[in-house]
Symmetry: C2
Subunit: 593 residues, 2 copies
């Protein structure tokens, strides 16, 4: 059990009893009781950041005995929304710029897993994310990345986390859990690495966050037996129902890439109880934050799908607090932290006002007080450490010096343009002058994955149905190893993209067949911009148009490439070490025998 | 968050995956899913004390790969029941005899508050209760008594617990919370003692168990602000609804004395959600254990009142685990502890079989293997330390040497024979030869409260509507100070009872007008018998008949007297220090000015 402790309980008690003036009373509210499921009018009394009393019998009683009265004018009063699982880095914003972007949408707490920066530059980046999230008008709680690297032996990133790192990081004040244990096969099979990290987290009183896509039956049971108590990787109705049945907290996700709410709701809408349903954003881009919102968008999706609004709101607040074991967050009740929103229209869920710890922090979609910038020396570090590459490094050479004829290639193949699942095809391709030739097949592209942490690892292969790339697109964001990945039809274009990204310290870059078109610079660990949400979103949207210009017409052109290195998402992905068979947990050859 | 950890996670994982034989499979069950509210057939796989898999798709799958198959023959499989709040001492049984009595009824975990023994003999008795509860086929988790004494300054018991005691006892392996903080006015007003103990518990990661009878509005809010997260003192429908609304866990109680389920259900039956309803027994006598059962009786009461059986069972298992912050207890799901019951008739709720940590421990109401006795030297200690008393010590002298005429007396008055609530009446009574005379009013009796911990404190007063006592009844059980209390019409009879109880080291004794009738010996701290449940119940039932014989025709004659010292139950009670005004938290004179 964890609790947000007040420094002065006695003052709160006096305010609760009406013996001293409370800081604030909010009157004329429509109050949703998330414990009983009732809606009724109430007056809420707040003191020193906590709710001290909810008055529903005599709505005017005590109003004379407060320092300030806020008239909600009949608005709903809701607890601040809590994101059960997310990565701030996915917004491409630094923690403080991220805060500025999401608070006006009503998100007052996030459980963030800094495993993108962790993979790039290790333990000290987790400390950086932790410290950058302090003193903000929101709560950024940290889960210790468990997946650095995501899958041991299949990729090399910039760091390796083990049980000792968990023991050390668990001492940080805002660390609350062990982040999504992505190596789900490792959990099920009880590998030393996963079990030792889980045990370290348990002995430090942390909860264990899961990540278990598309597992059923005994495999799912084994994952739960292994220790994790949550999952946010549910994509299908059957998965959703099964995971709730297994007692897992189901963090229904609506990210920029994975839109799972619809299928999840279909799977659980007929269940009598859904007390372990929570919601999360996982990965959400700056442009989506700007146009759609953050947690309010996810909760809205549940409501639009047909879930009663009060239940959807509970999934985005109280249930998350319960999931992570915090006993006085996620509801508006005596003793609870006074994070709350005033909302006139539950279907729209756009807060008129956002209060954090009893103080107004955002109004009508804008911060009331801008967030003070802080400087962190570590943000300036260059993390793109790649030796010089020649044009021929980008070419796919046929094996054994073969110069002509045909060669069989293992080709990961996206099932469609909407999802990140890839299957494998064995294909015959022509060899010309020692190189595999794809010029006749526009559905194919080359992929290079280059270690960017000073190691000589490099993989060149093919990808099918990625989307059109009449030129090249490259990125230093490539979950979860975040090596440099480039998808291209033309090695010259790939080299151009590589050079641009080395120059700026990382980002996303696009080249046409003949010239570089645009580079979105992400110099903070090759993952995050220094700019605010608005500017980052605008650059991202421009880049999206640029990518469409070279033919990339998938659901999310900007992030299409970042799904290609995800060695925890079925079934075949690339890392700097080679072509990864995700389900079997091993490397397989580009050219099968 | 707390978790019951296995010593060998890898073995469980192998069993979950079917790579090794599981210890046990239970087939042909009716499975109640406490997360989703569904009922469906399932086969449950258990290994090394944990559930490793619940199979509901192919019910025969894997049955060949287990060491043992149990055919449930269509019985319901339920999690072992968990008592959210109780005092083992109230059964008058030692922890090991208690275990033997309740396990066959399906109780596999209790959260016990050893504050009766704590009040008698301090910290070492908590360690005794803790150690006596180890190595049993049930779980006896300890909450650290917060109420030693229950209300500081209003009574003197055998010990005083403070924050340092909490810090020390929190180190014990089976300590899980701070027990019911009974001084609810002290919590609301933020007295140093209550706040320092609550803070000690919080810094040790313990949950704070509450006790807040009949509080509403701002007082109830203040209690929640103070720290406790639960309550089991709810007697009325209005209280029940208000406490759930305030976000408290409501531990609905059906004890030997306080039967609250009916009123609670009436107050909450129309609420859409009741996710924080749990159940408890609080104080339950040996005879009731024998004839009615334990937690199965409380859950049955909910069902009989109209709550759907699956929800009532959840209130007696999963909700309790959630309330105390244990993440893998209270349900039958992968990774959860394999405490379970097979029950054919949910309305009767009498388990055919009881399994604890995967092993059969009781069948058809009997233990499968008797519980091994253990000897604890501390059980032999004599805790009745009272200086010699003369007959005149038992007489109620009029104040100021008044010899005749009338005197005004503050007389606590039971509202009825069914409840422990007392109001106050100012009454005029005759004085004869310097003594207050009650001979003409059979509804009145004398009460003496004598400190039994070596202090010279002693109070003599009157009580109205206690029930008939044509003689005397005395007890060294007197919640929560457990001083010697005797209610009597005749001082001679009282002296006889006092002598009997000093002789045997404590218990309950009854005298007629002219001779001692029966003594139920409770030599273990003056609270518990050395005998088993059956013999203790028989002695208790005989004593009940004896008490009826002297005219005590209240709801529970045996325990009528123990409610008279409860300085936390409204409105007027006695302690060794005097007559206590519970609501005002102060002593008032027997003879008002």
């Amino acid at each position: 059990m964890r609790k947000i402790i007040t420094q002065n309980r006695r003052e709160l008690l006096k305010a609760a009893l009406g013996e001293i003036k409370s800081d604030l009373a909010v009157k004329n509210t429509r109050y949703l009781n998330l414990f009983t499921g009732e809606e009724y009018p109430a007056t809420i009394f707040i003191h020193q950041g906590f709710v001290v009393h909810v008055e529903s019998d005599d709505l005017a009683a005590g109003l004379e005995n407060v320092k300030d009265v806020l008239d909600a004018q009949g608005a709903y009063i809701l607890p601040g929304l809590i994101d059960a699982h997310m990565h701030i880095e996915s917004s491409m914003l630094t923690p403080r710029n991220f805060a500025e972007a999401v608070i006006p949408h009503g998100t007052t707490t996030v459980i963030t897993d800094p495993h993108e920066v962790g993979n790039v530059a290790g333990e000290e980046t987790v400390r950086y994310m932790h410290d950058a999230g302090l003193d903000l008008p929101m709560r950024q709680w940290i889960n210790i990345p468990s997946s650095v690297p995501a899958v041991s032996g299949l990729e090399e990133s910039g760091a390796v986390f083990d049980a000792e790192v968990v023991d050390r990081l668990a001492q940080l004040q805002n660390v609350i859990g062990l982040a999504e244990v992505m190596d789900y096969k490792g959990v099920e099979q009880g590998t030393d690495r996963t079990i030792s990290m889980i045990e370290a987290a348990e002995r430090n009183g942390l909860y264990i966050q899961g990540h278990v896509p598309n597992e059923f039956g005994r495999s799912l049971s084994a994952y739960a037996v292994g220790g994790p108590t949550t999952d946010h990787e549910t994509r299908t109705s059957a998965e959703a129902k099964n995971k709730l049945r297994a007692g897992l907290y189901l963090d229904a996700r609506e990210s920029s890439m994975a839109k799972n709410i619809n299928a999840i709701w279909a799977g659980i809408k007929d269940l009598p109880w859904r007390d372990r349903l929570a919601v999360c954003t996982d990965d959400r881009e700056a442009a989506d934050l700007l146009h759609e919102g953050h947690m309010n968008h996810v909760v809205r999706c549940l409501i639009q799908n047909g879930m009663p609004a009060i239940e959807a709101i509970r999934a985005g607040s109280l249930h998350v607090a319960e999931e992570v074991g915090v006993t006085n967050l996620g509801a508006i009740a005596p003793g609870y932290v006074a994070d709350f929103l005033l909302v006139h229209d539950l279907a729209k869920l756009e807060p008129e006002q956002v209060y954090f710890e009893g103080k107004l922090v955002a109004e009508k979609g804008e911060m009331v007080t801008p967030i003070k910038p802080k400087n962190f020396a570590i943000e300036k570090r260059n993390t793109v450490n790649i030796p010089p590459l020649d044009l021929e490094d980008f070419q796919l050479k046929a094996p054994n010096g073969q110069q002509n004829g045909k060669v069989t290639v293992n080709v990961p193949t996206y099932t469609d343009y909407e999802d990140s699942i890839t299957l494998l095809q064995k294909e015959e391709h022509s060899v010309k002058d020692g190189l595999v030739d794809i010029s006749e097949d526009p559905d194919l592209a080359y992929v290079i994955t280059v270690n960017r942490y000073g190691k000589p690892n490099k993989t060149v292969g093919l990808i099918r149905h990625f989307g059109g790339v009449e030129g090249a697109v490259g990125s230093t964001i490539a979950h979860d190893h975040h090596n440099l990945m480039i998808v291209y039809r033309y090695p010259e274009a790939a080299k151009r993209v590589y050079e641009a990204l080395v120059r700026c310290g990382g980002g996303i870059s696009c080249s046409g067949k003949d010239k570089l078109l645009q580079t979105l610079e992400l110099p903070v660990f090759g993952l995050m911009s220094n700019k605010n949400c608005f500017d980052t979103a605008k650059e991202g949207e421009a880049m999206t148009e640029t990518l469409k210009g070279i033919g990339l017409n998938t659901m999310n052109p900007l992030l299409r490439i970042v799904t290609l290195g995800l060695t925890v998402i079925p079934e075949y992905k690339y890392s700097d070490l080679g072509l990864v068979d995700v389900l079997e947990g091993k490397l397989i050859p580009i050219f099968p025998k």
